[in-house]
């Protein structure tokens, strides 16, 4: 039984529904950010992130900083790129445009490789681009929250390491870490940035990231100082290393309550094999996608290989309008999200299926949501052709 008051089930692609124990940790009594009990909690949290990202290389560096997922872009753009550096941004939706904006803010030159909506740049085009110019970084949105398009990281990283081995491989994993497989070491990734409120299952307010030893060395070899103060590796690197070594350290005050909640959610996630977690998300996603297809609806991501396992972006029938359907779904107790990709925002909705709504067998969130969608469409006069 949940101790949370009765409320509509939040099934947007983040924030997601949270476990009772995680929310309970949010109300932890006040602690000193440099006192031994909290330092131990923060240190353990950083160590657990290594397991979540599947890295055992001691030169990998986790960061947890108060902020939104967006702050991760600043971490990358202000520390790993220098003014004038070329950066290749693979575009699968709204979030590549913003990441490119962020690079431009710090003086890097972002080249976007775009694909039609619902698709992703293909390896041969990426290879061609990498051969045409020397890129300091390549960025890929693992799952674009605006389109539900999943990128394939393993083959991509192999390609980059083969064609342009000095290029750092940076992953925007905001909508993927915790529900999509990520093998940080094996896939030779250099940076994965994410946030707390999606598949990691902790309330919003934390920027979470992992960088490779190679990325840290790239930072250390900078000719210019980092472009940001609050997002500076120079300021945060010793702090993160100290906390993980259980030594008090201060640059800016962390949020003990959010760190406790993250500690709780990571403990829950790591109590079972990660492979099992990813398989559960995949199976649930398949079930949802089948239900969508059975309703005669199409997804933005048309190729099953490009479909995310933690969310589904669904084109509405032409006769059904999101501003009418979504409030009706809310009446049925489920909250879906509207479209976010500006070119087609009114034409689709997004269904998030991450975390406890998927993994907690005592919950019936997903079945209720599918049922609500079926009924909502039917009440809007839609019938499968």
């Amino acid at each position: 039984m949940s101790s949370q008051p009765n409320h509509p089930t939040l099934l947007i692609p983040g924030p997601i529904e949270f476990d009772d124990a995680v929310l309970h940790s949010m109300s932890h009594y006040s602690e000193s950010h440099v006192g031994a009990p909290f330092v131990a909690t923060f240190g353990e949290t950083l160590s657990m992130l290594r397991k979540l990202f599947q890295t055992t290389d001691p030169s990998s560096q986790p960061f947890v900083i108060s902020g939104s997922g967006t702050l991760g872009w600043d971490l990358v753009a202000a520390n790993l790129a220098e003014p004038g550096d070329d950066v290749l941004v693979l575009h699968t939706g709204y979030f590549a445009d913003s990441f490119a904006d962020c690079f431009e803010t710090y003086g890097a030159k972002a080249t976007q490789l775009k694909a039609p909506i619902g698709s992703r740049p293909q390896l041969p085009e990426i290879e061609k681009a990498l051969k045409e110019k020397k890129y300091k970084l390549l960025t890929v949105t693992h799952v674009d929250t605006s389109t539900g398009v999943l990128s394939e990281l393993k083959a991509l990283s192999e390609l980059v390491h083969r064609v342009s081995p000095e290029t750092l491989v940076i992953v925007d994993g905001v909508c993927s870490v915790g529900c999509e497989e990520i093998e940080f070491d094996k896939w030779q990734l250099d940076g994965v940035i994410t946030a707390s409120q999606k598949a990691i299952g902790c309330p919003a307010g934390l920027s979470i990231s992992m960088f490779s030893g190679r990325a840290v060395k790239t930072f250390q070899a900078r000719k210019t100082p980092p472009g940001s103060y609050f997002a500076s590796f120079k300021n945060w690197l010793p702090i993160m290393q100290n906390y993980e070594a259980k030594k008090a350290s201060y640059f800016a005050t962390p949020s003990p309550q959010l760190i406790h909640a993250l500690h709780t959610s990571l403990t829950q996630i790591l109590s079972k094999p990660l492979a099992e977690r990813f398989a559960t998300h995949k199976a649930t996603s398949q079930k949802i996608k089948k239900a969508v297809t059975d309703l005669g609806l199409k997804q933005l991501a048309s190729d099953p290989a490009d479909q995310a396992n933690g969310m589904t972006a669904i084109y509405l029938p032409e006769t059904v309008k999101a501003p009418e359907l979504l409030p009706n779904l809310l009446k049925k107790g489920v909250i879906f999200a509207g479209g976010l990709h500006k070119e087609i925002a009114a034409k689709y909705i997004r269904f998030g299926h991450m975390g406890v709504s998927v993994t907690d067998s005592k919950r019936d969130d997903i079945d209720r949501a599918i049922q609500a969608l079926q009924n909502g469409l039917s009440e809007a006069g839609y019938q499968k052709a």
Copy 2:
């Protein structure tokens, strides 16, 4: 009766002890960051901040962004200063050095006006400095958390407006907003940045600030784009304006739980006249400072006019060492902080007295802390000379 488990009382200059209702709000069930219920909560929170800062000028602009207090420096340095601009930083401790660092990161030229430890730059020196060079901004740390030195804002702002009327007056109010009087409009301030975890009484994780219409216009008149992405007014201004108008808006995902907690703490603070709150903090501070003097101890801030009302920085007797005294105080159930000013860190301790520990008459935190300090010093062999 508190619903928080028995724990040592946190009396450092932030984070502080939190009220039960505030901590309860931290575990609010998950909500969409763009759904009507949360949008209303966030909008009300922004409007309440206007009351806390005592501004009724509709051109004033509140911001609440996921981050630490430190992020406020980036907001100022990346939006209100442009590369090459001169900035005058009044130095009363550790935090002016860091703010100056932040300005340099974004290309502004920071000139620090320093004072001996425990004191603050005097008006005649400041007037002289303002006449020597044209400064785009002047910054002052209202209360420096490292020294407990309180700056006088009203006379300072009058001076700036008289001598250098185009210079923006920016206040670092991280350790003052909520316990020291601040009249944003009357004192003609242009920016006050703060954080959630001190006298505002909400867990850490939020950067909170108020900027004048004049500051916003200064931003809008920039010749260069803002130097930060995550801390960019360009990205946040429309978002804050939309939330306050109760319209959903998206740049980066806010933390609904932290915003709920802030809403609760602001509702509590504003339920009584602010003048009463400031008077209570002052009276408690006087009592603590008298106890410190009665013990024969000196404060870093030697002039009573320079002493903060929400914290006290106390020189230890030469025979008493902080690494022995502080753990003994912890055994007695109270947590004080060590020194932070690098030149004299080992020689003093800090006692924070803000928020519910001061205003909640059902708590005996302050009396217990004074008693613990007396006993702790005595057990360390100290006797008043």
